[in-house]
């Protein structure tokens, strides 16, 4: 049986792992390689590295750290951030990444999704979506350039329309990050995830809001997501991945122990 995935996310900035609250006030969490290795040993099913400065700064980002991770890690990992062209994706995959994730560049040029899918196969093209629930308009909005608060913009895309669009263009997986919940550890936005699940035919990864083990169980059992991504609870050792997987097994979630 296909196992549900537990995915620690490491936000990378200038070669170190950082974490901010609601995408702001980044604090340094540690070096990339030892943290990645620790998570793999604890039982993480996959790792995601978000180079959070990349899309905002319009620069070619040094990806040599991808090779350093690939050398020591024997579980799959995905790299996001700054991948705007086929060449960018190719370089990242050549360094040893298993998947690439695109977010802001896909919003700027949605045809990029199809170009990448045709070149590398849909299975290694992940689309990240930063979704924000606006209390005033009661709308789920897609945000762009979230790596830099000063540059973050609200796009004209409604989250659900964008979820449909990226699938039609060849996305092989969607990571839905609910910005309202990010870093505050109050639980995943189950209502939004369930609504996206209904229209999402590709694997769906929940992101933003995990604070305790029950939050993961809820995302799997109530919103039927394929994976759950979290950062601060793992970095700060609030939740141990091995214990989390034992807990989920008891909750009858299909889990690889």
């Amino acid at each position: 049986m296909l196992a549900k995935r537990i995915i620690p996310c490491l936000d990378v900035k200038d070669g170190v792992v950082v974490k901010g609250v609601k995408f702001r006030n980044h604090e340094v969490m540690g070096d990339i390689v030892p943290l990645a290795k620790r998570y793999a040993e604890e039982g993480a099913d996959e790792l995601v590295f978000y180079d959070i400065t990349a899309s905002s700064d319009a620069r070619v980002v040094d990806k040599s750290w991808v090779s350093r991770v690939a050398e020591v890690i024997d579980i799959p990992f995905c790299v996001a951030g700054g991948i705007k062209t086929i060449d960018d994706a190719n370089r990242t995959l050549q360094h040893g990444a298993d998947k690439v994730s695109i977010n802001s560049p896909a919003l700027a040029d949605p045809s990029l999704i199809t170009k990448l899918a045709d070149k590398f196969g849909v299975q290694c093209i992940v689309v990240g979506i930063d979704s924000y629930y606006c209390e005033e308009t009661k709308q789920y909005q897609v945000k762009q350039f979230t790596g830099d608060e000063k540059r973050t913009v609200t796009t004209t895309w409604n989250t659900f329309d964008w979820v449909k669009e990226v699938q039609e263009r060849g996305a092989g997986e969607i990571v839905l990050n609910v910005m309202n919940q990010d870093g505050v550890r109050q639980g995943y936005d189950l209502e939004q995830l369930s609504r996206v699940r209904e229209i999402c035919k590709v694997p769906l990864i929940a992101s933003g809001g995990a604070g305790e083990m029950q939050h993961f169980a809820d995302a799997f059992n109530q919103s039927d997501v394929d994976g759950a991504l979290a950062a601060s609870v793992f970095h700060k050792s609030i939740i141990n991945i091995g214990e989390l997987k034992q807990f989920l097994k008891q909750q009858e979630v299909a889990i690889r122990l």
């Binding site: 995959l93 298993d98 899918a117 045709d118």
Partner: protein, 202 residues
């Protein structure tokens, strides 16, 4: 000598690192003398069948790979390329089946997941080796391996291990000296490392 065949569109380095973690030396090459002189070969793949076969053709590798008489292990798309045909074309299915290497029988086709299952088949799934094949020495039935694909080879007479996702499909195949695994052993933790070790010790 262990050689990873340089197929151009593959993530070659993760396979290289996995072999090196086991303490072996390995070279990435598309040169005739390396490929025909190797004791063990890997044929890795990330991408689409259309793209990958085109890459092989441009590099003059199609006939060369067919001449290999030492054990060769195709990984993921590399395994699918061993088949006769594939219908994978990228964001959409190929208009015509793409001729592949024809080293194992069968046509790679789009998977048909059960209701509530998604494509691509992405993540850790359990395999059932069919025999006491040396490739699966010290690997328990039901072990988890990492898969990421939408197309698969149906179960056939050369299937060495099955996996189930909607339907049973070939997780590992072997015919003569040509072997293939649909999963990524280089990304499948301890079980994957064991499989690579088994292949290198065959």
């Amino acid at each position: 000598m262990i050689v990873i065949i340089d197929t151009g569109c593959a993530n070659l380095s993760s396979v290289k690192f996995a072999v090196e973690r086991l303490g072996y030396k390995v070279v990435i090459s598309k040169e005739r003398e390396d490929i025909l002189g190797a004791d063990k070969l890997f044929l890795p793949g990330v991408g689409t069948a259309t793209e990958a076969m085109e890459n092989l053709r441009q590099r003059g590798l199609i006939e060369l790979v067919k001449q290999v008489d030492k054990p060769l292990l195709g990984i993921c798309l590399g395994m699918q390329m061993l088949a006769e045909f594939s219908i994978e074309g990228g964001a959409k299915q190929a208009d015509e089946p793409v001729p592949c290497l024809g080293l194992v029988p069968g046509t790679v086709s789009l998977m048909e997941p059960a209701p509530g299952q998604r494509l691509p088949h992405m993540g850790w799934n359990q395999i059932q080796p069919q025999s006491d094949h040396p490739l699966f020495k010290d690997i328990e039935p039901g072990s988890y391996f990492y898969f990421v694909h939408s197309y698969a080879l149906p179960v056939g007479e050369h299937t060495l291990a099955e996996c189930d996702y909607g339907n049973a499909f070939t997780a590992a195949v072997g015919r003569d000296n040509f072997f293939g695994v649909q999963f990524h052993p280089e990304r499948s933790g301890k079980a994957g490392a064991q499989l690579i070790k088994n292949f290198l010790e065959m």
